[in-house]
Amino acid sequence: MTHWILTFVILTPLTASLVLLLIPRQLRTLVRFVSLAGAGLTLPAAIWLFAAYNRQVAGFQFEQTLPWVPSLGISYHVGVDGTSVVLILLTAIIITGGIFASWTQKVRTKEFLSLLLLLVSGVFGVFASRDLFFLFLFYEIAVLPMYLLIGVWGTSTKQRTKEYSAMKLTLMLLAGSAFILVAILALYFNQTPHSFDMGAMAHAHYGPSFQKTIFLLVYIGFGVLAGIWPIHTWSPDGHASAPTAVSMLHAGVLMKLGAYGILRIGMGLLPDGAQHFAFLVGAIATINILYGALSAMGQTDLKYIIAYSSVSHMGVVMLGLASLNPIGINGSVMQMFSHGIMTGLFFACVGLIYEKSHTRNIPSMGGFAKKMPGIALLMTIGGLASFGLPATSGFIAEFLCFYGMWMRYPVLALISVVGIVLTAIYVLRMIQRIFLGQFKEEMYPSLPDAKTTEWVAITGLALLLIVVGLYPEPLVRMIDVSKQAQPFVASITPVKTPSTNESAKITNGNIHAQYGTRYFLTAINGYAMHINPNGWSNDAKRLQ
């Protein structure tokens, strides 16, 4: 059975992108509405996917296969599982918001929107592809327009010119692509019959040492885009120079491509390699979390703060992945979603603040809440999600990531949890220095709040953060990797393993002898415990 829905999602922005080229640039309104259609049509499609995906069956659904070069084992094969659906939904939301956010874009609007839509269809393609050839193709489509988008429409910062940032970003990502290409070819050639189909590769039994090498290649290659330390340095410069919609899309969605690649190829196809390097991945993720947060603290440019916060949050994503258990990976995908929305909101707000105040230099701000209470409120919501406040989507995502990691490498979880304080510090400092305190009336004679289309973008994103935070069940149920029987997912091993090692036992008598009779243990010495092998029985309910 052939489903066209995914092809529709991939081709809609692409078509709009091409149609835009045919429209005269004077028809600015038409240009905007065509691009809104190109982006916006994917949103109902993504929501439909989300609703129609059969959670009971799980696995890959809505598959479509068209042979492309059969002799080389290349076929256009798309299909989605829960993770992909969530990420496609995220992409559709962010691009729609991004179009709204760039509604007032004036320079070469047509070309800008056309490239943006081209990029997005690449992103959709990556999330939907089941064929590595097409995955790589879409990946490059998603990465390359970024060069022009930043180089032409960006803004230079004090430290870096936009051309420098654009070039750095593109070169580093392309270097990563080289690693990915080698890995894909290695995967391709090391199975018979040669095929780029991931489904086929999942059944190819790659040897352990092969897996380790190739996993490293995949990890580094996609890791560049995922912003893993120390190859994250393109990200602050790139995000800071990029125009609003591009930053939104880039930090919100593109960085997820990296993590998605590691999850899908690195862990999905190379489970042994993933197991072998889990600690490394986790350790680097921990560095990311703390390092990104500390770096964010040391910035004075608003966009750099957000950019470094992305580095930190992608660390949480990678931390969850490295746990290799369902809780952590669910958390990780949740974090991808949550961070996508949150950082989209951040960059949209920052774009608005910059547009209206013409500065991104934090020390010269203050008291903006007086003039832009709406933006202040929404950006605060983003900030709360950023440091994982309950009732925002960031909380459950981070909690699950930490929890998953705790079950695998408690030490790393222990260190990385410090990140929640550091994040709170820089987020609250940022909010305080922008919005709170005395407003300098003479420096900013006019500082309007957001306008209609801008409201649509940021309010929608903020509401989503809260709704998902209050009730994450549908999303988590969707993602739930434990149902997908992924080879890399270790089941949640109950820690409740009765001790078989006699020497590890400490007896009640021991503690008794050591701590004397006053303590509670002895007070309940005669208390009868019923240990139920399936969990603790509730018969010892509290005394009321």
Binding site: S295, L436, K496, F520
Partner: protein
């Protein structure tokens, strides 16, 4: 849906309504009606149901991992729900008058109502997850309310400080949650209590650490959260700054309820604390240090709210003392141990909520009356308000005497219960004996500074123009004062007689140890001494200069500088973290970036420079290179055919 869910949800609905009203900016004045009604409704349901339990699954992953939200209305929760809803409703009523002319009127009530909902969610939690969630939510409500006047830089700073400092404690709390719940495979309190017991019996392996370490590490990690939230030493520094918020907020959040969440949490999870002595001893020592330190600072404060803030910290220290003392075990069970120390701490929490909320509200009433003054909080410019605001003055006196622990005011009974627990413990534990002595000294200090506060504010002659023209507050503000004043006087005694409080908390009907007359006598004498000293210094003569300034200058400056704790944290906490951030940012820019993007760039550049020489434009040299390369390839291939088996060899020969 069982009606019990409305206990936390009703204020949330109230908050939503108030939030909508705040957004529309219309009919802001009706917001409190909804929020107060919602709060009272929560309290009513609790009183009506008395006990109950409901649980709903919030999130499941796979088949085994389940996160639930519960409302567990047991005796302990019942007590807390009563305290929270009562104080919250009264404070909101008071706020109608206090916040009358403020911008963001409805927003204020929305925040307070969200706080009430979160606090009710916290106390009705039956699992660690929900506890942690609500723990954070009350924290953010506190942030929003401290920073309610966000345009004041000091308020914005204080809000941030409060949140960040408590978050430090929360890291420990989160780790404790992870440690315990991963060991238990569940978040439910009962499961965790049983797991802890099984670990102590050697029936379970523990992850990460040995069983012996687990037994002290897990509860102490949880206790970190309590240290942050309940403003215990060394994380107490945020609470005095939190006084930047509106005064009713201080009364509700920073005196009566949220700061008591730490005490509540330790009480609720006391079964986990009771395995290893070092845990309870830590609680005891921290409580002791906190109680003494902040009481001593309170003596020299001139800001009326700061006195009350330090007093709150000190009283929270008392509650921790009670918990740490343990006393005797009344109701032993794995999942719900009750000790006399616990009941004493909860008892003190309850009475303290009443009289401290009262004191803050009277302070608010005074500040409201003086709000045109440049520093309405400064007690040095008050005085003589007794005649001008009699209701405030008399109710405040009731609160002061309750705080001083004078017989028969509320504070006396609960404070004495804590002393009793300490005395019981002291027979076996020397540190408890020491703590008892410290606690009694602190009682004297408390009596001194509380009467000092009252005398400086209400007694004598007005010391400023504004105090001269002060007026009593409107009835919406004084009515809560009267109600709380009544409770401050009588609640303690009422709950003490017939062991009402202890029995309702433990669910057992057995007489607790009666009041120890000697101990009660000593504490009363000490309190009287403190009161008398304050009377002598502040009431007898006309106040020209604050007598506490004539303390030895080294002692005075030590106290005025808050034991240098704030300075310490600023220098070694805040400054270092910010400096570290700057360093990492510099390192990223100048080291990591130089290496990661600079090094490949340099290699490419140098390589290019080197290879560039070959592009001379001399066609003939190109041709030589081509010839050499082709020759090399041919020779290599020929050589390879000699050694390599297989297809390549054959290829070379057949063609």
């Amino acid at each position: 849906m069982p009606i019990i869910w409305l206990i936390p949800l009703a204020p949330l609905i109230g908050a939503l309504i108030a939030g909508v009203l705040a957004l529309t900016r219309k009919a802001e004045k009706v917001a409190p009606i909804f929020t107060i009604a919602a709060t009272l409704y929560s309290g009513y349901i609790a009183l009506f149901l008395h006990r109950g339990y409901a649980s709903a699954t919030w999130l499941t992953i796979g088949s085994s991992y389940r996160i639930a939200l519960d409302v567990n209305l047991d005796a302990l929760t019942f007590t807390m729900v009563c305290v929270v809803t009562l104080v919250s409703a009264l404070v909101q009523m008071y706020s109608i008058g206090y916040m009358e002319n403020e911008n963001g009127y409805a927003r204020y009530f929305a925040y307070v109502s969200i706080f009430t909902a979160s606090m009710l969610g916290l106390v009705s939690a039956d699992n660690l997850f929900q506890l942690y969630v609500c723990w954070e939510l009350v924290g953010i409500c506190s942030y929003l309310l401290i920073g309610f006047w966000w345009f004041k830089p000091s308020a914005a700073n204080a809000a941030k400080k409060a949140f960040v400092v408590t978050r430090f404690g929360d890291v420990g709390f989160l780790l404790g949650v992870l440690l315990l719940s991963s060991a238990a495979g569940s978040f439910q309190f009962t499961d965790i209590a049983h797991t802890m017991h099984a670990i102590s019996m050697g029936e379970l392996f523990t992850p990460l650490v040995s069983a012996r370490t687990f037994l002290w590490l897990a509860p102490l990690l949880l206790f970190c959260g309590a240290v942050g939230k309940s403003a215990q030493f060394p994380l107490h520094i945020w609470l005095p700054d939190a006084m930047e918020g509106p005064t009713p907020v201080s009364a509700l959040i920073h005196a009566a309820t949220m700061v008591a969440a730490g005490v509540y949490m330790v009480t609720r999870l006391f079964t986990l604390f009771a395995y290893v002595p070092v845990v309870t001893e830590t609680v005891l020592v921290i409580g002791m240090i906190t109680a003494f330190l902040s009481a001593s600072i309170a003596i020299v404060q001139n800001d009326i709210k700061k006195v009350l803030a330090y007093s709150t910290i000190s009283q929270l220290g008392y509650m921790m003392l009670g918990l740490g003392a343990m006393g005797t075990v009344i109701a032993p069970s794995v999942s719900g141990v009750y000790t006399t120390g616990q009941t004493a701490a909860m008892f003190h929490l309850t009475t303290h909520a009443m009289f401290k909320a009262l004191l803050f509200l009277t302070a608010g009433s005074v500040i409201h009356a003086l709000h045109h003054s440049s520093d309405p909080n400064d007690m040095r410019s008050m005085g003589g308000l007794m005649k001008r605001m009699p209701i405030t003055a008399w109710t405040c006196l009731a609160g002061v005497l309750a705080l001083a622990g004078l017989f028969p005011f509320s504070g006396f009974w609960s404070k004495d219960a804590i002393f009793g627990a300490l005395r019981e413990a002291s027979s076996k534990e020397p540190v408890a004996m020491f703590a008892l002595v410290v606690a009694i000294i602190v009682a004297g200090m408390t009596a001194f500074y509380s009467l000092r506060l009252w005398l400086m504010t209400f007694w004598g002659e007005p010391r400023s123009e504004h105090a001269e023209h002060a007026h009593e507050s409107p009835w919406v503000m004084t009515l809560p004062l009267v109600i709380l004043g009544f409770l401050s006087v009588f609640l303690g005694g009422y709950l003490y007689f017939g062991d009402r409080f202890a029995n309702s908390l433990t669910g057992l009907n057995m007489p607790t140890e009666p009041l120890n007359p000697a101990l009660a006598g000593i504490s009363t004498l000490v309190a009287l001494f403190g009161l008398g000293l304050a009377w002598k210094l502040y009431a007898v003569r006309r106040l020209e200069k604050d007598p506490v300034t004539s303390l030895p200058s080294s002692v005075y400056s030590f106290l005025v500088n808050l034991w240098y704790m704030d300075a310490f944290w600023n220098r070694f906490g805040a400054a270092w973290v910010v400096a570290l951030g700057g360093m990492v940012a510099w390192f990223d820019r100048n080291v990591v970036d130089r290496i990661v993007s600079g090094l490949p760039a340099w290699v490419c550049q140098q390589g290019g420079l080197a290879i560039r020489k070959t592009e001379s434009g001399q066609t003939q040299s190109y041709a030589v290179t081509v010839l050499a390369a082709v020759s090399f390839i041919i020779v290599t291939l020929l050589w390879l055919t000699k050694y390599l088996p297989g297809p390549m060899h054959i290829t070379m020969i057949t063609h």
